[in-house]
Amino acid sequence: MKELRLMKGNEALAEAAIRAGADAYFGYPITPQSEVIEYLMRENPADRTGMQVLQAESEVAAINMVYGAAGCGKRAMTSSSSPGISLKMEGISYIAGAELPCVVVNVVRAGPGLGTIQPSQSDYFQAVKGGGHGDYKLIVLAPATVQESVDYVKLAFELAFKYRNPVMILSDGIIGQMMEKVELFEQMPRSTEEYEWATLGKKPGKDSVIVTSLQLQSEEQEKVNLRLQAKYREVEKNEVRFETYACEDAEYLFAAFGSCARITRKALDMARAKGIKVGIIRPQTLYPFPVDEINRLAGQVKGILTVEMNAGQMVEDVRLAVNGKTPVEFYGRFGGMIPTPDEILKALEQKIIGG
């Protein structure tokens, strides 16, 4: 039975991990994400489903525990906030290289460095363009509501196992800390499937399974890279997700993701009340990016304003998608500051309509 609750984004996400049939969670506390591990420790899912929860000695240890669990074909998750995710990046690159599934949650706070604990979207580049070394991609899901924080955990595990690739959920301090109504999906059983790529002990008559991201022969490494690239093309073909609103008659367009898309949506309502025909596109997957839809809308509108809580990151992908069809401008606040709907409306009027 579906269950309606009022929950914090971080707690809802933690509950979703249990319900998605996760085998293990390894984490380390950091604001504004600590409620994830706090909730899991309190809930003690070992009693409910057998899921193991461990506070590791560091973020580096946590991601390597995920690597180990994933290597055994288990559903493993970790979460952190920006500085902690930077620490995990080496491990994430290894997991991507070894082609293993896992879910990594980043409840973003402002940087660089230790920065501040307030919400931000300044880890877009890190999530979408690499972050760790080597030619790899994460599938990146960007929830805008507590409900999506729940639904995307389930989706993230599905995609991670479908493509044997790490999936990142890019949340932020707003989504993590706020409370909303949320409908929880039913408890799913933990998987008992023994994947042939998983290291579960050598079976008689079968070759050893070796999990590694190391190929000392360049010819072999290039084969791995080609295989990864082929996989990413499949992901780009199948997994683009986005939401549009009020685009049918739109003369102008907002592009925003996550919590910032909701603030922008408020600005949209204010603009519409003044008779300004503006729509919004909200990428739900940041990789793969909704290139085709943005390009299509670019042919319809007189200008696009990208709104982000950073100094302008997704705007680069919007510009690539638009490919010169229409002007693309940017408005953002950063350092933990949150743009107000008034500011966003003013930016639309000055940079797009007036410009």
Partner: protein, 185 residues
Amino acid sequence: MTEEIIIAGFGGQGVLSMGQIICYSGVMQGKEVSWMPSYGPEMRGGTANCTAIISDEQISSPVLNRFDTAIVLNQPSMDKFEDAVKPGGLLIYEENGMTRKPRRTDINICSIAAYDESVKMNNTKVFNMIVIGGFLKVRPIIELENVIKGLKKVLPDRYHHLIPLNEEAIHKGMEIVKEEQAVKK
């Protein structure tokens, strides 16, 4: 109907839980709700605030800069949020500890001596419920029975015997809230 509320005061006054109780009550009444705390290196005696939104429609932004109602429980909060009330909106302030009256002339203003009342009730912990009572008297957006249902949901069973006390506090708040200035919306 959409009511966008900011509640602000000292940490320890029950600011965050007031917002949560309003939201839980809203859920019981079948409304859409959103609660967003100020989080940070804050502690008892520091400043705290939260945004609570109750609406018939899907809520867009959980973070706002203008509000229909501001409930302010100390002077720094009044200084910070008085100007954030929409014209025709509502400001409710706790009398205790305020060093000045609100200055706005284009908003409704109510005061409540919730702290003094809680002392009279011999239980300063119900302070925030008295304030909620005052708010619901002026803006009856949620029915009392749904607030009680909300409380039952929030409080663990072992505290359910305190619900009548909280209900009494809400009634007290409804009695003692004072209208100081009324404008047409």
